[in-house]
Amino acid sequence: MTGTMTGNMTGYDLLVVGGGPAGVAGALTAARAGLRVALLDAGPRLGGQYFRHLPGATDGKLHHGLDRFLRQSDALHASADVLLGHRVWTITRDPAGFTVQALAGEREEEPVALRGAAVLIATGAHDRPLPFPGWDLPGVLTPGGAQALLKGHGVAAGRRVVVAGTGPFLLPVAAGLARAGVKVAAVLEASGGLGLARHPVLAAAKAGEAAGYAATLVRHRVPYRTRSAVVRAHGDDEVTHVTVARLDRDWRVRSTETVECDTVAVGYGFLPQIELATQLGCASANDADGSPILTVDQEQRTSVPGVYAAGEPAGVGGAALAEIEGRIAGHAVAGLAVPEHLLLRRTRLRSFARALQEAYPVRPGWQDWLAADTLVCRCEEVPLSAVREAQELGATDARSIKLLARPGMGWCQGRMCGYAVSCLAGEAPQAPRRPVAQPITLGSLERISDDQPR
């Protein structure tokens, strides 16, 4: 297809971007209400990050609710157009609706455009790393990466793993590895870690799930240490051991020790993927965890008419909340009243999610872990010293630092280093501006459909 829309790619009532719990729930709800729906996902299977699974594998132990999700997916395949292997690189808006521009094919790259009256952004989130000396060594992964390897590919990330960072996600990652027979040398939580027990909302709701993971760790003799972090990874061409620090409440190093390992799964929360929406002009604000999220109303509408958001893009809050928000958005797009029980569940899950975010803040002492030659930007290999030099030259904000020293100018366009650069610049993270959200070949770009609808 070159340059013109074919009939069956137009006329959708709803285009859903992202096939995880939020997208599938939203698409299915709308389709059941009689709307013509298309859902696009970059992967070969529905599931997003949370419901990663190998084809044919249904190990219930690894996934809460996988069976239910798979039933929803089957129902969706039967009632909507599900376009797998489709990477959405931009969405445009005109008076008649929206055009989702995607690249079809996991290996080949065929430009495809779909038109619809409304869009649901259900693009999830990715790990939020913090740089530290040696974080660029092979064997250092994000917790999400370790989880994806295990659940999605049946691969243990390593033989002797240290899980580190902050946030409740470290628990299921460590528990999953331990149950798979991996030696988890330690789970290191940088914060004080009493958030779960101390906060009434958390104590009431999450204790059950967390207790399950905690029991697994105890059973496998995995030490869980709070106020601890990996502050340096060592090795020539891959990780052989790490320096683990005991931290004060601002995350400055008080004392250190060495721990041997071949793998580190380390991350500090999540960054919602909101660039497709910000490009459309959707308003955003910083959530309690400092991540820019899309502003939505009670029915998951963003500030741009016709654009909805559900799941992590509306605030990191986990799979159950994502599904509820998807269902609410599906009702709203279909013009149906949202059932009270959904609204109540969302309120409860939202306040729980907020409490979790507040319990695991990133403290500034991590900046002291860095040496002058520690890479801040992995893609462009920009060391801390270059960032500081840019600041000395008059780069007073993250954008100027990027223009002068190039962190964020490489392949990943600042996804891995943007948060860290904002912290180093002393400013709150800004919403990303990425008109091209996925790399696209020039050959594809010259064949896209830029038709204006008549």
Binding site: T90, T92, Q101, Q279, E380, A390, L393, G394, A395, T396, D397, R399, S400, L403, L404, R406, M409, G410, W411, Q413, R434, P435, V436, P439, I440, T441, L442, G443, L445, E446, I448, D450
Partner: protein, 376 residues
């Protein structure tokens, strides 16, 4: 109290500040944002003589080109004397191109074989002209390093950079400038240089004078970093010359392709008058991609990882505004350079420094006079 206030810490403001400090003046550079926060931050980094019609702008470009080479000895901003290859698709265009080159009286070679210059260039082009003087800089770095170089060489007291300071008024008493009102209080000075680029009209208005500077939007595509450089020089189609001079508010595009030290390939160029609208234009992206691939088929499989737009400051007659404003004594302008701001920055700064220190400017500034729009 500084001798001169420069409004705008982009590449033109930086050059004005550098040459003023070098001339022994105390300078304060003010910007409501960071260094290179405006159009300089979206610039490609072109230092061209090739695309200028003979006349005042070409004279300015030649003078500025020489100054850039001197500045490259003073500070590091990835100056590359890579030269520019202007290619013509058809014999008719080639004839126009070679005729222009003959009139320009700058060093150039009519290319006998294009592939000696660019092995990956498409076949079937009618010919081209190579301009060895065309060069490249990293524009944000250039602005920042020029200011730093002036501070280092002429003393920090001589050049003060104040970012995050917004000029909200120009103090004019009895027809002469006495300073500026800013978000951080009043700053007094006997001279103010308006180097606010695309916002030069707004700053001029604060002083009670009008400058018809309008934004002309351009997009740039940035590719993945290539392991091996595929493009050696700046390469552009001759249509670039006619595009620049057009007044069409609608979209105009021409092909501009070059590599960078970081390994990426930059692809331009588009021109539209759409105000300050940053909405992505798929039509522009598609055209820029098609043009780039037509010139360099080998780029077809390369991925675009980023695109951004900038707003060139453009005057109705396509010449910048440089010089003293006869309407307000002590007010000077250094803006409206459209797409040539980076290339023309040093000459702009040097000429203004000459004016400020009572010397006779090296070039006739009459064509660039700020009040010329009222003549019409």
């Amino acid at each position: 109290m500084p001798d001169v206030i420069v409004v705008g810490a982009g590449v033109v403001g930086a050059a004005c500040a550098y040459y003023a400090a070098r001339a022994g003046l105390d300078v304060a550079v003010l910007d409501r944002g960071p260094v290179s926060g405006g159009t300089t931050g979206a610039g490609e980094g072109n230092i061209l003589v090739s695309d200028k019609e003979p006349g005042p702008e070409l004279d300015l470009a030649v003078h500025s080109n020489r100054l850039w080479r001197e500045l490259a000895e003073v500070a590091d901003f990835e100056f590359e004397a890579k030269g520019g290859l202007v290619v013509a698709e058809t014999p008719e265009v080639l004839a126009q191109l070679t005729a222009l080159a003959a009139k320009q009286d700058v060093e150039h070679t009519v290319a006998a074989g294009l592939h000696a210059y660019e092995p990956h260039l498409a076949g079937g082009l009618a010919g081209g002209v190579f301009y060895p003087q065309d060069a490249q800089v990293q524009p944000m770095l250039a602005a920042a390093r020029l200011i730093r170089a002036a501070q280092d060489n002429y003393g920090h007291g001589a050049l003060q950079l104040r970012t995050g300071v917004e000029v909200r008024g120009v103090r004019v008493e009895r027809g002469r400038v006495t300073g500026v009102r800013t978000s951080a209080g009043d700053i007094l000075a006997g001279a103010v240089i308006n180097a606010a680029g695309t916002w030069g009209g707004e700053v001029a208005a604060l002083a009670g004078v009008s400058l018809p500077i309008m934004p002309r939007r351009g997009f740039i595509l940035v590719t993945e970093p290539l392991a091996e450089p595929l493009v050696r020089h700046k390469v552009y189609t001759a249509a670039y010359v006619t595009n620049v001079a057009s007044d069409n508010a609608g979209l105009e595009t021409s092909a501009v392709v070059e590599g960078t030290p970081a390994g990426t390939v930059l692809i331009g160029a588009s021109r539209e008058r759409v105000g300050f609208d940053r909405t992505l234009s798929l039509t522009v992206l598609k055209r820029l991609a098609a043009q780039a691939v037509a010139l360099f088929p080998v780029l077809r499989e390369r991925r675009v990882i980023r695109t951004y737009c900038g707003f060139r400051p453009y005057c109705p007659d396509h010449l910048p505004v440089i010089g003293a404003d006869p309407r307000v004594r002590g007010l000077y302008h250094a803006c409206g350079h459209e797409g040539a701001g980076i290339g023309l920055a040093p000459a702009t700064g040097a000429l203004l420094a000459q004016l400020l220190s009572g010397q006779s400017p090296a070039l006739d500034l009459h064509p660039f006079r700020p009040d010329r729009f009222e003549d019409a």
